[in-house]
C-alpha cells in the first residue's frame, strides 16, 4: 500500500501517509483513505513522498473540502525541500499548515 491511513486511538485525528510519487495514480487510494471517516483533524505525512504534482495539490483541496473547507484542520508534515518548494509556489501554506 502506498497510501496508509490510521485513526488515532481517541478517534479524533486521521493520519494519511504517502509513499513514493504523490500524483494522479494515487487518486483513488487517497480518496478512500478519508472518504468514509468523520474528520476532526487530519495529518498528511509526506515523509516518504518523493514527488508531488499539480493533481496531488488538487487531491489535497478535495481532502480540505471534505474536512470542512475553510474550517478544516489539516496539517501537512515531513515535506522534503522539493515538495515544500512546489507547495510554496502555489502558496498552499495559506490553506494548509505545512511543516
Amino acid at each position: 500500500m502506498s497510501v496508509v491511513s490510521q485513526m488515532s486511538r481517541d478517534g479524533r485525528q486521521l493520519t494519511i501517509s504517502i509513499k513514493g510519487r504523490f500524483d494522479f495514480a494515487k487518486h483513488q487510494e487517497f480518496r478512500e483513505a478519508y472518504e468514509h471517516q468523520d474528520l476532526e483533524s487530519v495529518v498528511v505525512d509526506l515523509k516518504e513522498a518523493t514527488y508531488l504534482d499539480s493533481s496531488a495539490l488538487g487531491m489535497l483541496l478535495l481532502l480540505r473540502d471534505h474536512a470542512g473547507g475553510d474550517d478544516a484542520d489539516i496539517r501537512v508534515i515531513n515535506s522534503s525541500m522539493d515538495v515544500r518548494k512546489i507547495l510554496a509556489i502555489s502558496n498552499f501554506d495559506k490553506l494548509f499548515d505545512i511543516t
Binding site: S54, S55, G58, L61, D70, I89, N91, F92
Partner: protein, 571 residues
C-alpha cells in the same frame, strides 16, 4: 477454454490430390460438425478460398498443377491480416521439408496417416489462435477509430478555442514573442494578450491542473472574461477577481488554474504583476542587466472564494527596451537524457550571459534545445518588451450600429466617495457612456488614456495625497504603490467628481471632461513649466494629458482639471 465445450462449426477447406484421403478427411470433419470444401490441387484451393473464405485450410504439400507451398503463400496473401490457419498434411518426415511448410505460411502440420484425435485437437488449437487474432484486430481497429475520433474532437475544440484565445493581440503586437506547442491547450497551458482601450497591454499565462479535455474546459470561460473585461477598460484587480470567481464557481474542487497576469503600461512605463502559482517570471532590465523576480505570492485562480481572494498586485518601473518574461513549469522541468531538470538556475545563467536583449528569447529556446534534446509540449514562454508608447496601436473597435441614435447634447456629473473609491473602478462605465458618441470613437484610445490619467491623478495625488516625486527611482516606485494600497484600504473620506459635457458644434462636436478631487491640490504653475516630453517616472501623467487632449488646464490650485476633445461630423 473448456475441453468438453462443443466445438463451433467451421468452414474448412481440404486441398488434397488423393480422392481417397479427401473422402476420409471430409467424413471425419463433417462428423465433427464442420462444413467442408474440397480441392484437388493448389489452383483449385486458391480459387475455393477466394470464393468462400473458409476459416481453416488442410493443405497437402505435394499436389499436381500447383503444390501446397505455393497455394499456402497465395492464400496467406489473400487473407491479409485475418488469420486463416493452414495445417499441412504431409507424409514428408525430414525436418527440412517440415520447415518448408511453416516457411510457406503454414501454421502447423499433420503427418499421414491421420490420427483423428490429433486432427481434432489441432483444429481446436488453431481455432483458438484464429479467434485471438480476430479479437486483437477488432480491438486495434476500435482503438484506432476512437483515436481518430478523439483527434477530431480536439481539432474542433482547438479551432473553436483559437477563435476565442487569439482574438487578442498575441500575433499582432510587435513587442510580444512567445513559444507554445499548438496543442498546449490540452496540457492546460493558456496564453492570452490584449490591449486595454488606453493602449496598455494585459497578458495572462496560465496552467490548468490536469491534462486533456478537462484541462482545456476551463480555458474558454477564462479567456472570455479576460478579453471581455480588458476591452472594456477594467484593471487587473477587477479582472482577476472576476476570473477567480468564475473558475471557483464552475470548476470541481480539485481543479484550478495557476496564472501569471501582467499589465504593461507603455505610457506610464511600468508593469503591474499578479502571480498565483506560476514559476518566477522575470523583469529583465536592459540597461543594467539586472533581473527582478516576479514571484508567486498568491494561490492559483479558482481556489479561494470571492470573499477572501487577494487581488493585490506588484508594480515595477520599466525603461524602454526592458523585457518581462513569463514561463510555464515545463520550461524549468525540461529534462535531459539523464533525467536532470533544466531548473531555474540554468535559466538565470542564460539571462546573465546575454549581451543582446533582442536575441535573449532565442537564446533561452536554444538553451532548452541544447539541454533537453527533446521537445516537451507543455513548454510555454512569453516575452513582452516595452516600446515607445506611440509605436503600438491597439486595433480600434468596430461598431455595427448606424449612428442614427447618437446623443449629441448632454451632460452628466458623478461624485464617487471614499467607500466607492476603495474598490470600484468607474472608468469602464464612463468610457462605455462616451462610446455612444460616434464622433469620439476614433479617439477612444487617447480619450481613455486621458480619463485614466486624470482619474489616477485625482485619486493618488488628490484624495490619497501621495507624493509623485517618490517615483523618481525604482525603489521609491515600489514604495509608492505600497503606500497607495495601504492608504486606499483605509480611506474613509474624500471624493472625486467627474463632469462630462457633450455639445454639438458647427460640423461636429465637443466633449469637456472636468475632474475635481478633495485633495490638497498642487503648484500648477511649476508643473506647467516642465517640458511636455518629460519622461521621468514621476509626473508623466500631466504631460500625457496635455499631449493627447486639447486645452488642458488646472484650476482651484490643481484640485480641478479640465480637458477637451473635438470631432468633425462624419460623412
Amino acid at each position: 477454454m473448456n475441453a468438453t465445450q462443443p466445438q463451433a462449426s467451421l468452414t474448412i477447406l481440404i486441398a488434397e490430390d488423393s480422392a481417397a484421403d479427401r473422402l476420409l478427411l471430409s467424413s471425419i470433419l463433417r462428423r465433427a460438425g464442420h462444413v467442408v470444401l474440397t480441392a484437388a490441387n493448389g489452383v483449385e484451393a486458391v480459387a475455393a478460398f477466394r470464393q468462400q473464405q473458409p476459416h481453416l485450410v488442410l493443405m497437402d504439400a505435394m499436389m499436381p498443377v500447383m503444390d501446397g507451398f505455393e497455394a499456402a503463400r497465395q492464400i496467406k496473401a489473400l487473407a491479409g491480416e485475418t488469420l486463416v490457419p493452414i495445417i499441412f498434411l504431409t507424409s514428408l518426415s525430414e525436418s527440412e521439408a517440415l520447415a518448408r511448410c511453416l516457411e510457406a505460411g503454414g501454421d502447423d502440420f499433420l503427418a499421414k496417416p491421420y490420427n483423428q484425435i490429433i486432427l481434432a485437437a489441432k483444429i481446436k488449437a488453431m481455432e483458438r489462435l484464429r479467434r485471438l487474432q480476430a479479437t486483437v484486430l477488432q480491438q486495434r481497429d476500435q482503438i484506432a477509430r476512437h483515436h481518430d475520433y478523439l483527434l477530431n474532437e480536439q481539432r474542433v475544440a482547438k479551432a473553436v478555442f483559437d477563435k476565442v484565445a487569439h482574438s487578442g493581440c498575441l500575433n499582432a503586437a510587435p513587442n510580444i514573442r512567445y513559444l507554445q506547442s499548438p496543442y498546449a491547450l490540452f496540457n492546460g497551458d493558456l496564453l492570452l494578450a490584449a490591449f486595454t482601450p488606453s493602449g496598455d497591454m494585459h497578458v495572462l499565462l496560465g496552467d490548468f491542473t490536469g491534462h486533456g479535455l478537462p484541462a482545456a474546459v476551463g480555458a474558454m470561460p477564462l479567456a472570455e472574461v479576460f478579453y471581455g473585461m480588458t476591452a472594456k477598460g477594467y484593471g487587473l484587480a477587477e479582472t482577476l477577481r472576476e476570473m477567480n470567481a468564475k473558475l471557483k464557481r464552475i470548476l470541481p474542487v480539485d481543479m484550478f488554474c495557476c496564472a501569471a497576469v501582467l499589465c504593461v503600461s507603455f505610457h506610464r512605463r511600468c508593469v503591474e504583476v499578479w502571480n498565483g502559482g506560476m514559476p518566477d517570471g522575470y523583469l529583465h532590465r536592459v540597461a543594467s542587466g539586472e533581473r527582478t523576480q516576479l514571484v508567486s505570492r498568491h494561490l492559483p485562480l479558482g481556489v479561494l472564494s470571492p470573499e477572501v481572494f487577494d487581488d493585490c498586485t506588484d508594480v515595477w518601473p520599466m525603461a524602454l527596451g526592458d523585457r518581462v518574461f513569463l514561463l510555464s513549469d515545463g520550461v524549468i522541468d525540461t529534462a535531459d537524457a539523464q533525467d536532470q531538470l533544466f531548473g531555474a538556475q540554468r535559466l538565470q545563467q542564460v539571462f546573465a550571459s546575454n549581451r543582446q536583449p533582442d536575441v535573449l528569447f532565442a537564446e533561452i529556446e536554444q538553451a532548452l534545445r541544447d539541454f533537453g534534446g527533446q521537445a516537451r509540449d507543455d513548454v510555454s514562454m512569453v516575452e513582452i518588451s516595452l516600446l515607445q508608447s506611440g509605436l503600438i496601436h491597439p486595433a480600434s473597435l468596430v461598431y455595427s450600429d448606424s449612428g442614427q441614435s447618437c446623443p449629441l447634447d448632454w451632460s452628466v456629473s458623478f461624485e464617487f466617495r471614499a467607500a466607492t473609491l476603495r474598490r470600484f473602478n468607474p472608468l469602464p462605465y464612463l468610457l462605455q457612456l462616451l462610446q455612444e458618441v460616434h464622433g469620439l470613437r476614433a479617439q477612444s484610445g487617447p480619450l481613455y488614456s486621458v480619463l485614466t490619467e486624470l482619474y489616477a491623478n485625482a485619486l493618488e495625488h488628490g484624495v490619497l495625497g501621495l507624493d509623485s516625486s517618490l517615483k523618481r527611482d525604482a525603489s521609491g516606485f515600489v514604495r509608492y504603490y505600497q503606500q497607495r494600497k495601504a492608504r486606499l484600504d483605509t480611506l474613509d473620506e474624500g471624493f472625486i467628481r467627474v463632469h462630462l459635457q457633450v455639445t454639438p458644434t458647427d460640423g461636429g462636436g465637443r466633449l469637456v471632461i472636468r475632474i475635481e478631487d478633495s485633495g490638497e491640490g498642487f503648484d500648477v504653475a511649476r508643473v506647467m513649466r516642465r517640458p511636455m516630453d518629460d519622461i521621468r517616472l514621476s509626473g508623466r501623467g500631466v504631460s500625457l494629458i496635455r499631449q493627447l487632449g486639447q486645452n488642458a488646464r488646472w484650476s482651484d490650485d490643481g484640485r480641478s482639471a479640465c480637458v477637451e476633445f473635438f470631432w468633425e461630423e462624419m460623412a
